[in-house]
Amino acid sequence: MSPMTALPVLSETASAVAPAQAGGVYSLLWLVVALPAVSAAILLLGGRSTNAWGHLLGCAAPIASFALGVLMFVSLLTRDAHDRAIEQHLFDWITTGSYDVDAGLLLDPLSMLFVLLITGVGSIIHVYSIGYMAEDPRRRRFFGQLNLFVAAMLLLVLGSDYLVLFVGWEGVGLASYLLIGFWQHKHSAATAAKKAFVVNRVGDMGMALAVMLMFATFGTTSFVGVSAAAEGASTATLTALGLLLLLGACGKSAQVPLQSWLLDAMEGPTPVSALIHAATMVTAGVYLVTRSNFIFNEAPTAQTAVVIVGLVTALWGAIIGCAKDDIKKALAGSTMSQIGYMHLAAGLGPIGYAFAIFHLLTHGFFKANLFLGAGSVMHSMNDEVDMRRYGGLAPLMPITFLTFAMGYLAIIGFPLFSGFWSKDLILEAAFAENLVVGFGALLGAGITAFYMTRVMLMTFLSPKRWADDVHPHESPRVMTVPLLVLAALSAVGGVLYLGGWVVDWLTPVVGEEHPELGVPVWVISLAAVAVVAAGVAVAWVLVAKRDVPREAPVRVSVFTTAARADLFGDALNEAVFMRPGQHLTRSLVYVDNRGVDGTVNGLGGLIGGASGRLRRLQTGFVRSYALTMVAGAFVVVVALLAANLS
Amino acid sequence: MIVQALGVRTVDDLSEFGTDPWWLSLIKAVLIFVFLLLLTLFNIWFERRVVARMQHRAGPNKNGPFGLLQSLADAMKLMLKEDIMVKAADRLLYVLAPVISVIMAFLAFAVIPFGPVVDVPFTDRQTPLQLTDLPVGVLFVIAVASVGIYGIVLGGWASGSTYSLLGGMRSTAQVISYEVAMSLALVAVFLYAGSLSTSEIVNAQQRLWYALILLPSFIIFWVSMVGETNRAPFDMPEAEGELVAGYFTEYSSMKFAMFFLAEYINMVTVSAVATTLFLGGWRAPWPLSLWDGANAGYWPVLWFLAKVMMFMFVFVWLRGTLPRVRYDQFMALGWKVLIPVALLWTVAVATIRAMTLDGGLDRRVLVGGALVAVLLFLLLSIVGERAPKEEPEAEEQPFDPFAGGYPVPPMPGQRLPRPEPAGVVPGGAQPDQEDDTARRSATEEGD
């Protein structure tokens, strides 16, 4: 009997009902994680003998997981709204007297959506990778690592306990490290992998501290237990927990101030970028915040922090996106920005959780679409990533162009496309919360429209600027079919909000609260559309009406320079963390050398010196020793006599 | 005298000892002294005559009847010779050594019984013909003998001469080695006699001499006796062929005479001890013992002297017959034959003695067992003889000094090739260079 079920359920807003034990189709829940994990093990340990069919197995595993996920999803749909949390106990992981951790899986509406997103989009990316990595001699290993990534992410979202989540969390970190540095022979790739890993460690530290704090404060780390205990916990504790969790989320989701790794992570193969940005990794932060809603709801300060982080990141990423000529980096900037939106929404509390998840889903669709499209372009342009070498590709790569356009429209929030719905809802929530936040988010939407239009124009529509030896062509079907699927999803992803379905769906987990606006909803929508239109127009004026130079202009404004330099994120890190860190280490080393070592060495020297003097007694002359013995005997006789006489 | 200082208290029936008045003891001591001096003079003559007979010569026959005074003449001449003090000598010890030698030689005789209790002429006293006796009489003899060796050793050392030193060293080793065998041989006698006092041991041999029932002990003692006194064929300490005259090479005149005296007295002493311990001491031999008067009065002194002289004759006989053994052979004999045999024999005697004392053991069983043991021993020795002879031939392998590329010592069963004399060319030019070393090592470093 799991101890979790024995805990009294105190929460009434979310997870009001204890999760049911897994049965029926849900008893296969572990397979969802296990399939890609086993596949990864086979591919990574199997060696070259699995080369021939490795990619097929690598695709089959997430597809099978996806199928299982769909099955469970359908099954969940049939259940009562409050009875949709399924728990599967795997084994007793840690058993001590007062602290027990079960390795268990939790399937509830929130994780269900994530499972579908991860396995669904993940499968598409897998399929796409078959074509994209066809020439790579290490493709089998690539698929193994992709599977590992997916498995880790699934464990992250399915874990029923912060500790299990943490395992997945670290697994994601490991897999991302491996995949970003997949082309390890490139120095930049290896560096980027290291950077991602190190920055993630900072976030992981927050995560780990949060787990420890939970353990110390609540004595449990399971979602059910923590949510139950959070009711009665002090605000300070919850605020601390929330900030620590936010730190973890920032690390994984590339939020300011831990955003710097994301752009460098583009060194990995494009499917990896797609996977990281669309389906896995960066969404983990949003998931964490959403999952921990029972903590954040009770800690307004932490919520505010989340909102601020989200807003800053949304603008930050958008500004970076404007200045990048590298298509992937521009898209990466947009990811930062979009994830910032999600955090923003999540930070708003029960109003925004569902919207954050909704945006996460649509973003998953269109960002995957965009990245894979970009990959397709690069594929045909000899891995050229600089948009200033593109131009006029639309007629040559019609499918790519059209699918990319779907994604483009979705991301800028063109009416009726998926992004329109999700972003609109976030804007509503933001305005409902705070006008500053609302206008910030609105501004972000405009900038998004600007840079995405710029990307679109520079890549597909403006005059061609590519080199003579480049022969752009449409990608093979194995790549275009996933593009088509994703384009369709990008276009119609908004159906999830039909009748507020996604909100209702998530309510048992995150609760529900409707934004109360001072103005009608359509005003917000109209304003958003207007801002987007303005952004598009500005881009049109600045990009399409002028010639795009093949070389990036050097003499640019301060803002452009700053944006090109990722708004000095790295410089900031360097100045704020690295330099003081180095000084700290140096001084610590100094203290260690002079102080600690000095004490220890001094003590050792003292003893050594003393023994050096003392050992002189060890003359090697037997007669000296004999003299000592006689002296000793003398003393003994004295003692005996004294004892006798007294 | 030391002996007087020893308060004698024992359950051994030594009651007749220690009761003599001082004048009687003095007379006895003087008599022993004179007796030994005269005996030595006689023995020197005796030896020279006997050896001469054995070599078909006449021997000294000019001075006195049968040349009997020859020794006296020699002694006188010796005393008048120049007393040489070697420059390198250690003066104190050089003088002390012969004195120690001769004093100890005389001292040992204090516990030798010459005869039974007799009447002292011209008085009504009765006294044993023995200076004194101790509960540890025989041990006393051994002790005195071992101190007597100091004379030889110190004399050899103090002379400051290589030959003397070598002689002294040989003597030391010889004494240490042969004393063990000798003492072990005596153990059997002690076991049978149940006493360590000489008079008691003589008394215990009333029925049967120990030479007969303890024959192995007797033989071992006899052999060790010759070794202990440095007599041929065990006279390595003074081997004139190798060491000029051994430990007394540098001595002359009176001091030489003292060594000489000590050697002859020692011969008499060990003979007397052997007589006492194994040949019934002063007791008359068999046919004579039928006459009751033979073991009473002063007659026993005659039997005693006769037995001692028999041993003396054997000493001379050995010298006239046997070549000197090599030093290592001598040591091997002592350590590898005499001591083990003596040990075995001691164990056997102890066992038999314990069994007999316990409740009797049938003599016939004993004799039968001994016969079987002897047969077994012979059989084993024959079988054992053959086996080792065959083995080395079978195992003989050529020795490769660089087996496996490394210099290695020979394995068991391998023989090192005889070293080729490097400098010797056939018809070589320098015979004396090699000669010296090779020859010396062959003779001196026998061990």
Binding site: L627 | L93, T162
Partner: protein, 289 residues
């Protein structure tokens, strides 16, 4: 008790002399003296068996072993008595004095009653009494000391053992080798000629004379020749005339002419043995090796 007061001071003096003697052999002799004195003291104290054992074992065997080793290693030169360890002598004197005084005090204090004496224990005699104790009460200790002795003997053998690499040449081997060498190189198989023996010199440093009057090089040790301490026969005769003159025997100066003639030494007249005496066994057989 008179014997004690004679023996004891002498023993102490001998012990001191033993410590102070420069030559190890003197030390040994002094020790022997002390040991014999102690043996007599044992005898005085009703321990005749220990008296004998003390002399036999200690004086006869142990100390003899010392002497043997002394001669074997040849440390016969005087030891320097200069102290090399700083302060050792002073401290030794202090420690020794203090220890001695205390010990004397202690043992003197140990016996206050009159001695019991051994009459009761010697009911059957000293040897029997000892034997009874030794083979009943102390039988295990006795056995253990036996084992100890055997172990010690083995240990000494192992320590002093030198591995023989070549088989030991037998007497026959040596004889054959000598004769083979004679056949091959013509070297004389017999022993070397002994050094010269003259009426006044019976020493190893004088070469023997060959029948033709030459000195035989082989008769003296090469070491002495290398040292240059050989004496030639003519030199020996140098002072003969003078000596003869001194003792007034002028009529027998016939070596002068011989000396002038060269290497020829004094006539062999001086080699006559005394008619008898010094070597009374000179007509013995002599060894062969």
């Amino acid at each position: 008790m008179i014997a004690f007061w004679i023996l004891a001071p002498l023993a102490v003096l001998a012990a001191l002399a033993m410590v102070a003697a420069r030559k190890a052999v003197h030390s040994a002799l002094m020790l022997a003296y002390v040991m014999i004195t102690l043996a007599i003291l044992y005898a005085m104290q009703d321990a005749p068996f220990l008296f004998a054992v003390q002399v036999i074992v200690y004086t006869g065997a142990v100390l003899m072993l010392f002497l043997f080793v002394l001669m074997l290693v040849g440390v016969d030169a005087s030891d320097s008595l200069v102290e090399t360890i700083k302060g050792q002598r002073l401290l030794a004197v202090l420690a020794g004095l203090g220890f001695g005084v205390l010990l004397v005090l202690g043992v003197a204090q140990a016996v206050v009653s009159a001695p019991v004496g051994l009459e009761a224990a010697h009911a059957q005699g000293n040897v029997v009494g000892l034997a009874e104790l030794l083979f009943t009460k102390y039988v295990f200790a006795f056995e253990v000391t036996g084992a100890l002795l055997i172990t010690a003997a083995l240990a000494a053998m192992v320590l002093a053992h030198r591995e023989r690499l070549t088989p030991k040449p037998t007497q026959r081997d040596l004889a054959e080798a000598r004769l083979r060498e004679y056949a091959e190189t013509g070297r004389h198989p017999g022993p070397l000629p002994p050094p010269g023996v003259y009426s006044r010199h019976n020493a190893v440093d004088t070469p023997a004379l060959l029948p033709d009057g030459r000195a035989s090089d082989l008769s003296v040790s090469r070491t002495l020749r290398a040292r240059g301490t050989l004496r030639s026969a003519p030199e020996l005769a140098d002072d003969v005339d003078e000596t003869l003159r001194k003792i007034g025997a002028t009529g027998r100066t016939r070596t002068v002419g011989d000396r002038a003639a060269g290497e020829v030494g004094p006539p062999t007249e001086g080699r006559t043995f005394p008619a008898s005496g010094e070597q009374p066994d000179g007509d013995g057989t002599g060894g062969d090796s």
